[in-house]
Amino acid sequence: MRKQYLPKDSLPALYEALRKRGYKIIAPHVHDGAIVFSEQHSPDTLPWGWQEETEPGRYQLQHTERDNKSENPARAFAWNNGPQGIKPWLFKPKQEMWRAEETENGLRFRQPDYAAEPIAFIGARACDLAALNLQDKHFIQGHYPDPFYSAQRQQLLLVAVNCQRSASTCFCTSTGDGPEALFGYDLLLDELDEGFLIEAKSEVGDEILVELALELPLELPLDACEQSLLEQAEQQLQQAAQQQRKMPSDSELRLLQNKLDDQRWHEIAEKCLACGNCTLVCPTCFCSKQESNSEKLGEVSLASVQTFHPEQSDNNDVASQVRVWDSCFSEQHSHIAGKNIRPEISQRYRQWLLHKLLMWQEQFGRSGCVGCGRCISWCPVGIDLVEEANLLLRSELDQAVEQATGERP
């Protein structure tokens, strides 16, 4: 597919081309000390020169320019990730499922109009694309495709970016999901000092590139670009090799099946606040709960609600059902009449870790962790999923090494 050089000052043309095709542009920017995504109108708001410094329980942005301004001019994608992935744009934190209205013939239920709009998402990383692929499996390829997610998914255009460094919490090389974006995008950016190498991977992406070329006669110093890209790739490889964390492989993670009653769960529970942050920032978690609203009833007390007869109402809309994100760390998550299946935090942490790393494999054919490291940075007490997985498996992994080498590690 088409590959071109896109000078920095041609970025507005890219934005314009996307807008002309009807896309709302969702791009990264700095907000409240983190990199977040929202509608943006100009490339000026990209996080030029920002980079995150992160470790378990800590995430802080700092400006790259301060360190080496001369050799490394400010880049837009020098950071790796923020608390969000693509998840909130498809599996929305709040989604109205249906609305009930009163008609002459009684109740009528209808699905709300999907708010699906063409979105161009700029700045997706390899791990985000891998996570998106997993959410597609859950929300689209299951028995009942989710109409809301599916509709928005079809309207999504992805402009991916190759990572050129790894944050200290990244471990995508060990899960096999990064740092290079290989699939699932329409356009891919490789950032160079003075511009970008832009590559199309889908038909729409290609058309957009054609349009760009038509509008601006680009010089194509492709050879020079390839050279500097090659250098960057090498750097990237080195960076990746230095990723400090290593998630055990899927087959190793299967041994977690032997750890259902491990003492370690109780040790983690002493630290874990059951706040659910790790599940909220995780790009693959999909839990939700449903809330029933009765807007016309407003402040009427529950007692009278219980004998409420929709027939006697005068307002048309009588109720709506809203789906909101939930977490297996919440107390209500596993509640059944008069009983909670997972009353202990140790059991909830176990559900989270085992679902993500073990049960996901059975459900979706691979582990549910794509190595983005978000749950590590955003856990208020710095619990490290990779460390926990390795600790839990230590004896099993040692045994495997011993069998393979005949030596005690």
């Binding site: 597919m1 249906w98 009930a100 013939n105 009684g106 109740l107 239920f109 597609d136 689209i140 390829q141 299951g142 028995h143 009942y144 495709p145 989710d146 109409p147 599916s150 998914r153 079809q154 999504l156 992805l158 699932g184 329409d186 991977k201 889908s202 038909e203 978690c285 999909f286 839990c287 939700s288 709960k289 449903q290 029933s292 009765s294 529950l302 609600v305 219980q306 004998t307 409420f308 007869h309 929709p310 027939e311 009588v318 059902q321 789906r323 939930d326 998550h333 596993s334 509640h335 059944i336 008069g338 299946i341 140790s346 059991q347 559900q351 073990l358 049960m359 494999q361 059975e362 459900q363």
Partner: protein, 293 residues
């Protein structure tokens, strides 16, 4: 060329009715006992396929019942009679109580039927053993009714039910009917009283198993009730040489969506709402009875 957006599977239109309820009208309510009631519901949709959809259910499947502005809960399908859908419900909280307070003529929302039911047709030619405990094991009652009505397809039918007090037993007359007219072996136990009454024993439903007459090598077992009871029954069945591959059981978890999306009902790698609620025991054995799963 390599277009990588995975759009090929998106051509299936979502089954809208699964996400959005269909209206149903309460025609009649039977008060079975204090706090226990059966709703008879008429599907009010203008679309005939909706009526078909609810009429064609498997025993052991469930519907999601919603009452406007209060909530939505999973309830087993008890039966379909005279064009009406039946649900037997125990009032335990917010939604189940609101449903109990409904007056005939009121409308609710229905989504379903969902989940896997009892594979009754696989049990042809075998002894059937139904083991239940607690109140109103609706999914099993529907299956028993069917089995009794199609007795010629099966061999012996054994029905074991345990409750705390004998008056907790739902549908006493049904049990009499199954025993007397249906030619089934019916054994009942109350754990907290010694009611000197014919057919009643003091104790647990598991103890009834010893009195049950069936062929351990040609039987299929269907269980539903508290997990602790089902674990005990599994032990006893094992003692009596029943292979665990003959056992099916219905499970309960928190359900929010009913269709494999919300993540609430997970048990190990399974989503109880879509892979269950009826499971073949060997399938869930590694997880079943393990606290916290």
């Amino acid at each position: 060329m390599s277009v990588v957006l995975h759009t090929d599977h998106m051509v299936h239109l979502p089954k809208v009715a699964s996400f959005v309820p269909v209206p149903a009208r309460l025609i009649k309510k039977d008060q079975e006992s204090d706090g226990l009631y059966t709703l008879h519901l008429e599907i009010c949709s203008q679309q005939p396929e909706h009526i078909q959809q609810f009429a064609r259910f498997q025993f052991g499947q469930f519907n999601m019942l919603s009452i406007m502005g209060i909530g939505e809960i999973p309830i087993s399908i008890m039966g379909w009679q005279d064009g009406l859908l039946m649900h037997t419900i125990r009032s335990v909280g917010r939604v189940s109580e609101a449903l109990n307070n409904l007056q005939p003529g009121s409308q609710i929302g229905l989504r379903g039927p969902f989940g896997q039911g009892w594979p009754l047709t696989d049990f042809t030619g075998r002894d059937l053993i139904f083991i239940t405990a607690g109140l109103g094991c609706a999914p099993v009652v529907a299956a028993i009714n069917y089995a009794v009505a199609h007795k010629q397809q099966y061999r012996r039918i054994v029905i074991l039910q345990g409750v705390k007090h004998h008056q907790d037993l739902l549908w006493q007359s049904k049990y009499d009917e199954w025993r007397d007219k249906g030619d089934c072996q019916v054994l009942l136990a109350a754990s907290e009283e010694n009611k000197r009454k014919y057919h009643w024993r003091l104790g647990l439903v598991t103890e009834l198993l010893e009195l049950a007459e069936f062929d351990p090598s040609h039987c299929s077992v269907m269980m539903c009730g508290p997990e602790i009871m089902m674990l005990a029954a599994l032990k006893q069945l094992n003692k009596q040489q029943v292979d665990e591959s003959e056992v099916y059981l219905s499970l309960e978890r928190n359900f929010q969506c009913g269709l494999g999306s919300c993540g609430h009902c997970q048990l190990g790698p399974y989503f109880v709402c879509k892979d269950g609620p009826v499971f073949h025991y060997p399938q869930i054995k590694p997880w079943f009875g393990h606290t916290g799963f």
